[in-house]
């Protein structure tokens, strides 16, 4: 332990950490460009100057270690003056691009200029221009060399995190410029992260380009449903202009720091996987006799009538002739309701959730081959036993005409077993019910279609591959006509004569924690923003 003083207050910090780490722990703001906690220390931007008493000059906080008795000032006139001078140099060749720059509003040059700007500039307007303005350097990222302040974060990201060595700084002096190495393209699986770590608008996201000014965005904490890693994300959605609201609500996803899961990063598949929230949704409300309705021959039925209808069917159903394909994309709460209703109450023996042959790519960093966010939760909650989790035997039975009815949550049978199988199943099964947020070939042939809310439109929790329970939160209301799965399942349970008295996901989770030893002792408060591990 080292006893130090920062801005007049005493702190006891770990030995050997850097001054900037101590400052961050003390939650004091200090400008920085090149320092990133996830990357090695470069110490080349020089903005993080602090005054240390008894040292002749101000020093950079990111590359100075704390020592016993150090007295540090981050806002003294001397420190401020050094920061101001550095910022002035960084801006010497910086173009006045804010009006057309996508970074404007979340740009550290703008932010720190407000704090430590030299409002009486000493440079004249002759700037060194680069030959090319903004140009794409890969499928996801746009580069504008004039805006770069040469902090080298992107270079270090390529060298240390993805080890693809994409970037380099070329030339010398005021002609130095950042670029991808000659003949290379920035196309690794984590390329989107460089737009996040670039503190200025030099590297920007092509997908988000000119879509929206960042100050119009609302933000909600969530978890990426793209694979079983469950990277922590923020959903950025259009919020401040409801009077201009277009069809698209989600504008982009950003990683959220969680040291136990994804640190500061997410993969590109996850980052750009948000399109299904606003596209290809089932928006006509619940449908009965789906094809007929879609041709517009009958008015759409209401949720109440459809659920009453369903409850009637389920009450009369022969438990041996009905099956449920639950979804590993549903939340723990929803899977718990599926268990209570179909396994415990209706006593249907045929429940499964694992669709074989759906694995994707995997690497040794974040990406997992199981592309479902909650397979672990499904298996811990439904407790079917490994071989029974697989939907294939039930599907086979349906194909041979052994089933009367089938309730499918989200799965696309055509994608799993081929369109031929879907067609046969369709002919052999009398009642095919589909529930899910997005349209697919199975939904197109189902007798009853129940449109569900997407993960951005409901509360709940996912359990990732290592058993970490993490919360997803509601960013906005479900699209017209759809309901959160837990919501209609609760309604259905009432119609079936069960007495589940839950008010919402938090309540359902408490009930789950009360009866399942894996979840024992957990609650939303404990899970918080960073998640909580299951009991093993």
């Amino acid at each position: 332990m080292a006893n130090i003083t920062i801005d007049g207050k005493p702190y006891a910090v770990k030995d050997g950490i850097t001054v900037i780490q101590a400052i961050d722990e003390a939650k004091i703001d200090l400008p920085r460009y090149c320092y990133h906690p996830g990357l090695s220390i470069a110490g080349n931007c020089r903005i993080c100057q602090v005054e240390v008493e008894k040292l002749p000059r101000s020093v950079i906080a990111c590359n100075t270690r704390v020592a016993e008795g150090m007295v540090i000032h981050t806002k003294s006139p001397k420190a401020r003056e050094s920061q101001q001078a550095v910022l002035e140099f960084l801006l010497a060749n910086h173009p006045l691009d804010c009006p057309v720059c996508d970074q404007a509003g979340e740009c550290k040059l703008q932010d720190y200029y407000m704090e430590v700007g030299l409002y009486d500039p000493k440079f004249d307007d002759r700037k060194v221009k680069k030959t090319k303005k903004a140009f794409p350097i890969g499928p996801t990222i746009m580069l504008d060399q004039e805006r770069c302040i040469l902090c080298s974060r992107c270079v270090r990201f390529g060298d240390e995190i993805t080890r693809t060595h994409d970037f380099g700084i070329f030339n010398r002096g005021d002609r130095s410029e950042i670029d991808v190495c000659p003949g290379k393209e920035l196309d690794n699986k984590y390329s989107g992260n460089v737009a996040d770590i670039c503190p200025v608008g030099a590297l920007t996201d092509r997908d988000f380009r000119f879509k929206m000014r960042v100050w119009y965005l609302g933000s909600q904490k969530s978890v990426c449903p793209g694979c079983s890693r469950g990277c922590n994300i923020e959903i950025h959605y259009e919020k401040s202009r409801p009077y201009h609201l277009k069809k698209e609500r989600v504008m982009r996803l950003k990683p959220r720091e969680n040291q136990a899961v994804n640190r500061w990063w997410i993969c590109d598949a996850g980052r750009y996987g948000y399109k299904s929230i606003d596209h290809g949704r089932l928006v006509e409300g619940p449908l009965v006799g789906a094809q007929m309705n879609r041709a517009g021959t009958r008015p759409a039925p209401t949720w109440t009538s459809v659920l009453e209808n369903l409850a009637g069917i389920f009450k009369k159903a022969d438990p041996a002739a009905w099956a449920v394909f639950a979804s590993p994309r549903h939340t723990n709460e929803e899977l718990y309701l599926v268990k209570r209703i179909f396994l415990d109450h209706l006593k249907w023996g045929q429940v499964a959730f694992h669709a074989p042959g759906q694995e994707g790519d995997e690497d040794d960093f974040l990406i997992r081959k199981d592309k479902n966010p909650n397979s672990t939760g499904a298996s811990r909650i439904l407790r079917l036993g490994k071989p029974d989790e697989d939907i294939t035997p039930i599907l086979e039975k349906a194909r041979r005409g052994g089933l009367e009815g089938l309730l499918v949550f989200g799965h696309d049978l055509a994608g799993i077993a081929g369109p031929q199988t879907l067609e046969t199943v369709r002919q052999k099964v009398k009642t095919l019910v589909f529930e899910g947020p997005n349209d697919n070939p199975t939904a197109a042939v189902a007798d009853i279609v129940l449109p569900a809310a997407s993960y951005a439109e409901k509360e709940g929790t996912f359990t990732n591959f290592e058993g970490r329970v993490q919360r997803i939160r509601k960013a906005f209301e479900p699209v017209s006509g759809s309901l959160a799965t837990w919501d209609w399942l609760l309604n259905l349970s009432g119609l079936l004569g069960m007495s589940l008295k839950h008010r919402g996901p938090e309540d359902i989770f408490e009930a789950l924690a009360g009866e399942n030893e894996f979840f024992k002792g957990l609650n939303y408060k404990k899970i918080g923003d960073q998640g909580c591990l299951l009991n093993s």
Binding site: D97, C98, P99, V100, A104, K132, K133, A134, F135, R209, F210, R213, W215, R241, Y243, H244
Partner: protein, 169 residues
């Protein structure tokens, strides 16, 4: 925060009858009427030229002179090649208190300009003519100097201006 309580003045008996106020109003109106009638009659015979009588403009045949700074209908200024100067920075959209500007941005073919509006819609039916949009624009791309004041339409839709109308007032 310190609050100061101001007592509302009670209305007296005469105030509540409104009669003195009505009388006062009639008195002011008739004073102007008779004074102007007398002044204009004297002007007719070439007297009292140094007194000014109230005037009536025969609008719309006769236009009233406008001050140079009057804020009138908006326009978007053009570059030399005729394309809009606007770079779709959305400053005006952000500052507009009536929220009547809606801009969609797109890539500018010239990489040195980078950005331009794909559409620029302004709803004059909602605009409060505050002029903030002009003030905030970093490109001098929007101005309120067309001197067009008589804006009327048969529907709310008719009050909306798109980019073409804004570029060619």
């Amino acid at each position: 925060m310190a609050t100061k309580i101001i007592k509302r003045k009670e209305l007296g008996f005469w105030d509540r009858t409104y009669l003195p106020a009505v009388g006062l109003g009639l008195w002011i109106t008739s004073r102007h009427f008779f004074r102007n009638m007398a002044v204009h009659a004297l002007h007719l015979f070439g007297f009292a030229k140094n007194l000014r009588g109230a005037e009536t403009y025969q609008y719309p045949e006769e236009q009233r002179p406008l001050s140079k700074r009057t804020r009138t209908r908006h326009r978007l200024t053009k570059r030399e090649d005729g394309s809009p100067r606007c770079v779709a920075c959305m400053m005006c959209e952000t500052v507009c208190p009536a929220r009547c500007i809606n801009i969609v941005a797109k890539e500018n073919p010239d990489p040195n300009i980078e950005k331009m509006p794909a559409s620029f819609d302004l709803d004059l039916g909602m605009c409060v003519y505050c002029g903030y949009c002009v003030e905030v624009c970093p490109e001098d791309a929007i101005r309120m100097d067309t001197r067009i004041l008589d804006i009327a339409a048969y529907s709310r839709e008719g009050m909306k201006l798109d980019m073409q109308k804004l570029l060619n007032p």
